[in-house]
């Protein structure tokens, strides 16, 4: 079967884990990996896994885009360089899956709004953050039952699972996730907190979702909606699991989740890495299906 050829920009934890996810996809093929450090472990891994690599940033990739028929690029660099990467590649007709907190395109959480994006054919979609991917499905599970005036999420991740880019830019992570809780999750106000825990052995990613409903919660309706949503997420992240709750306390609902990863590039504790790369891969697959079926026409190279 024909596959859509992809480039991965950024050779850190996320970019490297993406190689595994994309190689497993029936619709996508990883062809290029772009880094900025010739000695990076991610680039070495990419070469070992059969990808072409450049350490000259996106500019090193541009001359090959048309020749190698690259149609989708994943950007796992940083919010600060994403726009420039995106402008250069979309000008060549490449669709961007943005894994940075830049969020210049529409925000995507697959079980909530991927189908909608796939019919609209945006050239750039944003994956928010690992915390967003892990918690917004739950916010939506409540808000599709009844009005949520406030939702707050707490993501705890293992110290070893987050790279230097995320660490140095925690505010962007917080802002983007808080905004997405509102825009995609459907809460009128959103807040995101993140905690980095260095425990050894490393802890699995944990997420707590609190929602305040406008009226007394429909307990049965919410429990059913939460369970359905978990099943949807488990289709691409099998280790997405409810640990405790939902706990109902007046109009406050607490949901305690855990994400165990597949253990591709980093061990299974890094569920935060998996939920991000798996969601991005699922998003790309949906677009790839559309491209292959001729439903989605990528913009011609400028």
């Amino acid at each position: 079967m024909k596959k859509i050829r992809c480039a991965l920009i950024g050779s850190g934890n996320i970019g490297t884990d993406l190689i595994y996810k994309i190689q497993r996809s029936p619709l996508l093929e990883p062809v290029w990996m772009v880094g900025i450090d010739a000695n990076s472990e991610g680039l070495a891994k990419a070469r070992e896994m059969g990808l072409k690599t450049t350490h000259e940033g996106v500019d090193g990739l541009l001359p090959h885009v048309l020749a190698d028929n690259i149609q989708i690029a994943f950007d796992a660099t940083s919010a600060y360089v994403h726009k420039s990467n995106s402008d250069k590649l979309t000008a060549l007709g490449v669709m961007m899956i943005d894994l940075t907190p830049a969020a210049i395109g529409p925000l995507c959480v697959p079980p909530v709004n991927l189908a909608e994006h796939a019919t609209q054919g945006a050239m750039n979609v944003n994956m928010i953050s690992c915390a967003g991917q892990a918690t917004i499905p739950m916010v939506r599970a409540v808000s599709r039952v009844q009005g949520v005036k406030y939702a707050e999420i707490i993501a705890s991740v293992a110290s070893k699972s987050i790279g230097p880019g995320t660490r140095a830019n925690l505010d962007e992570f917080t802002y983007t996730t808080s905004n997405a809780i509102e825009v995609v999750g459907g809460a009128r106000k959103g807040k995101a907190l993140v905690v980095v825990n260095p425990a050894e052995p490393p802890m699995l990613m944990r997420n707590t979702i609190y929602c305040l409903t406008d009226d007394a919660p429909d307990e049965a309706g919410i429990i059913e909606s939460v369970q359905q949503m978990i099943t949807e997420v488990q289709k691409y992240v099998p280790g997405y699991r409810l640990v405790n709750g939902p706990v109902f306390d007046g109009n406050k609902i607490a949901i305690f989740m855990e994400v165990k990863g597949l253990g591709d590039y980093l061990p299974t504790y890094a569920g935060n890495l998996d939920i991000m790369t798996a969601a991005a891969t699922r998003t790309a697959e949906m677009f790839a299906e559309g491209i292959l079926a001729g439903r989605i026409k990528l913009k011609e190279a400028a």
Binding site: I154, A168, K191, V195, L242
Partner: protein, 353 residues
């Protein structure tokens, strides 16, 4: 040092940083009125305390379901106290992942001139943008390494060096669990002193869970610390912070210069702070457990409340949180842990299964 091991601290200058209106918020479940804030801030200023922290217990961004909603926003508290302070500076706490630069800008706009940028003792590299931003604003900028007992002296000193490289002018050894003994404090302050620039100050923030707040603070000073966090009558999380008026009395006996008026502080403790307490802030069964097991002091009241809700002893929950190596900011895991324990003990049925 004299040959009998005595270190003479006579004439040493120490900057006292009051915690009553920030760490003290934890002990009050974030319920301090603006009138109480004004009374405390005015009395501290009048007693010559040079620096006081005013904010939600979690600092910037603390108002949340996770950490409780205070009676007022941080901005309302700052606006209330600023006109009543003649000499002192006001500081704030910023824990990246919770507080952001937008909130730091707001703090500055409302008159706050010092910030403790706080992180778990191994995660200093989550602080560079906040430290740099504080310096850009011209604020007194502190790097605050929490749960410092969970890192080795060498490891902690490397984390402090990172914070210094981002722009921190002072680095703190923060004993969030009230677990450390004087020798633990000394080894960590000494390790920091060895690697930091001479002009970079060192501070110590204690909790009194093992009754060591004063002794630990003095130990820190002996190794070169020049800033000490304390709160009047100990009003703070767990068994409270280093009790400020007691610390000042000890400093006077030792000839350490704090610039504070001891008798005014004693009166303030008795007449203003103690009457504010909802429960006596002291070493009791649960707060002693924090210190003994090395658990984040703020977990105390949450564990007591959830223990009562699910029929579990608070001490059991705290010990389990310590075993699971939960750190500051993971207050959600207290209910999660209590629920799992209650299921295992057959106290509740597992609905989700």
């Amino acid at each position: 040092m004299n040959n009998d091991g005595f270190i003479d601290l006579k004439g040493r200058k120490v900057l006292i940083h009051d915690m009553s209106l920030r760490d003290g918020m934890h002990a009050k479940r974030e319920q301090i009125s603006t009138a109480q804030m004004i009374a405390v801030a005015s009395a501290l200023d009048d007693a010559g305390v040079p620096l006081m922290q005013v904010a939600h217990g979690g600092g910037l961004g603390g108002n949340s379901l996770q950490h409780g909603f205070a009676m007022h926003s941080n901005e309302e508290y700052w606006d209330a106290v600023m006109p009543h302070i003649k000499r002192a500076k006001v500081s704030v706490l910023l824990i990246p992942g919770m507080g952001t630069m937008k909130e730091l800008q707001s703090a500055y706009d409302h008159g706050v001139r010092s910030v403790s940028v706080a992180t778990h003792c191994t995660e200093a590299d989550t602080t560079p943008q906040h430290i740099a931003y504080a310096r850009k604003l011209g604020m007194d900028t502190v790097g605050f390494l929490m749960m410092a007992h969970l890192n080795t002296p060498e490891g902690l000193s490397q984390q402090g060096k990172l914070m210094e490289s981002y722009g921190a002018e002072c680095v703190y050894v923060t004993d969030s669990a009230g677990y450390m003994l004087p020798e633990d404090v000394k080894r960590r302050v000494r390790a920091l002193r060895e690697v930091l620039k001479p002009e970079t100050q060192i501070g110590f923030h204690g909790h009194h869970n093992l009754g060591m707040g004063i002794a630990n603070s003095i130990a820190a000073i002996e190794e070169g610390a020049s800033r000490i966090d304390a709160s009047v009558a100990g009003l703070g999380a767990g068994a409270g912070n280093t009790p400020l008026e007691v610390f000042v009395a000890v400093c006077e006996r030792m000839g350490i210069d704090t610039g504070c008026d001891l008798f005014k502080l004693m009166d303030m403790a008795e007449d203003i702070i103690v009457p504010m307490m909802d429960q006596m802030v002291r070493v009791d069964r649960a707060s002693l457990t924090l210190g003994f097991a090395g658990v984040y002091s703020t977990f105390l009241l949450h564990a007591k409340r959830l223990g009562a809700k699910y029929g579990l002893p608070a001490r059991d929950i705290l010990v389990e949180l310590g075993r699971k190596k939960m750190i500051g900011g993971q207050e959600d895991m207290i209910e999660d842990t209590a629920l799992t324990m209650a299921k295992v003990r057959g106290l509740i049925k597992d609905k989700a299964a």
